[in-house]
């Protein structure tokens, strides 16, 4: 009986999730259409420019994800509520995936345009450093014992790791960079057809991020509940 009640409670959530995933799939298709078919080719790069509609949103969403992780880490240190820690780790994990995608798509784009997979460009270098910072965050987290200690130590490191994010953002302004500044205080530097596709890409990847964050956060909370239950059962049996 209790099981049926629990199932009934879960059903609306599953329905909500499926509806959100379906709506997101439609948005992704629209984004793909805009990026790969509807947007015009660039004057010099031709169709190669279409990588930008994935590369730039991935990079922006990654920085946003790290920002969310930073805020959540700060909130954990202030309030000591494990929910904030779950949010910090979930967002950082998605941020790391998006950074990896941004680095890969960037290398794929750089090879035909700049003639090399990798250049010592400030934005490229600072982004790779950011990747290592968050890889270190997960390795540190994975090697810590105890729920509270893991959350506390990784929150402290999460705050420090975020310091690279403003550096990545400002790198094209502070140093000489071959990376173009797509958006500046003067506005967006591209024709309207391309700008529309870029904004659509950003909205789509932001929606993907939101959905992934929701799922990952719930997984993390479930994992914590299981850990607590296991600990309680062990305490009762010993």
């Amino acid at each position: 009986m209790e099981k049926h009640r629990a199932d009934a409670r879960r059903r609306p959530r599953v329905g909500w999730f499926l509806a959100a995933a379906g709506a997101l799939a439609a948005v992704v298709w629209a984004d793909l259409y805009l990026a790969l078919i509807a947007s015009p080719p660039e004057e010099n790069m031709g169709d190669l420019v279409r990588i930008m509609y994935f590369h730039v949103p991935c990079a922006w969403v990654a920085l946003f994800a790290f920002f969310v992780s930073f805020i959540a880490a700060g909130m954990y240190l202030w309030r000591r509520n494990t929910g904030w820690d779950s949010l910090a780790v979930s967002s950082a994990e998605i941020g790391l995936c998006f950074t990896t995608l941004a680095l890969i798509t960037g290398a794929l784009w750089a090879r035909p345009v700049w003639g090399a997979w990798w250049t010592w460009d400030p934005r490229l270098t600072t982004t790779l450093i950011l990747w290592f910072l968050y890889a270190g965050y997960f390795l540190l987290r994975g090697s810590l014992d105890g729920r509270e200690r893991r959350a506390r130590v990784s929150a402290v490191y999460g705050v420090i790791a975020f310091l690279d994010v403003p550096v990545v953002h400002m790198s094209v302004t502070w140093w000489r960079s071959i990376h173009p500044a797509v958006v500046s205080s003067q506005g967006i530097h591209m024709p309207p057809g391309m700008a529309d596709a870029l904004w659509m890409g950003l909205c789509t990847w932001m929606a993907v991020y939101a959905l992934l964050l929701t799922v990952r956060y719930r997984m993390e909370r479930q994992r914590e509940r299981v850990e607590r239950l296991v600990a309680r059962v062990r305490a009762q049996t010993s």
């Binding site: 240190l77 450093i129 910072l133 270190g136 506390r152 402290v156 790791a161 310091l163 550096v167």
Partner: protein, 227 residues
Amino acid sequence: MREVGLWWWRFAALVRAEAASRARARTGWIAGVCFGVLWVLVAGIALDGTARLPAAWWCGLLWLGVLCTLVPQWLADSAGDAEMGATSGLLLAPLDRSWIFYARWCVRAGFACLTAAAVAGTSFIILNEPPPRHPAWFAAAFVSGVVVLSGLGTFLATLATVSRSREAVFPLLLIPVALPVILASVRLTVYAAASYGRPQVWWEVLLAYFVLLCVLPWLLYEPALEE
């Protein structure tokens, strides 16, 4: 006024205790100096006994040697403190816990400067490097770089100490955070050695890190130290 005097006396006591603890663990820092000298020797052999390196290469190698020498030392110091109960003892000190970090930073920076000076001296001799064109600038850049690196190393070693695989994790935590400091230190020493480059921006990078190291531990060192 009396309160401030008492507070300084407590901080000085922390520094004394830390310095005594480091001096007693002499095996660690003597091994560090030996390793640094050995590192320079190996670098010289790997470069085919080169007679003279460009200043930028020599400075890069010098800082790489300094980093390779100091990273295990910082970790060993923090791990030793945690295992021997020194950290737990320090928590009883009637001061804000961030001052434990400042005391450790002062002492470890001093010991790190000694180790780094041994590495620099050896690399001058073994790699046949001429004296720097601006010796005072060279000394200032070298000491500033080591002091800021020591601050980062001390802070992050505290975090890594509680990790099961601290030896593997610590360099991965430290090096990405310290990269701008390493870059700034290399550029500043290149300028001092060969009057090459613009030092102003790199002094600003070191200063920014120094300010961060003065402020962040005040906010974050207490949670890092909690048992």
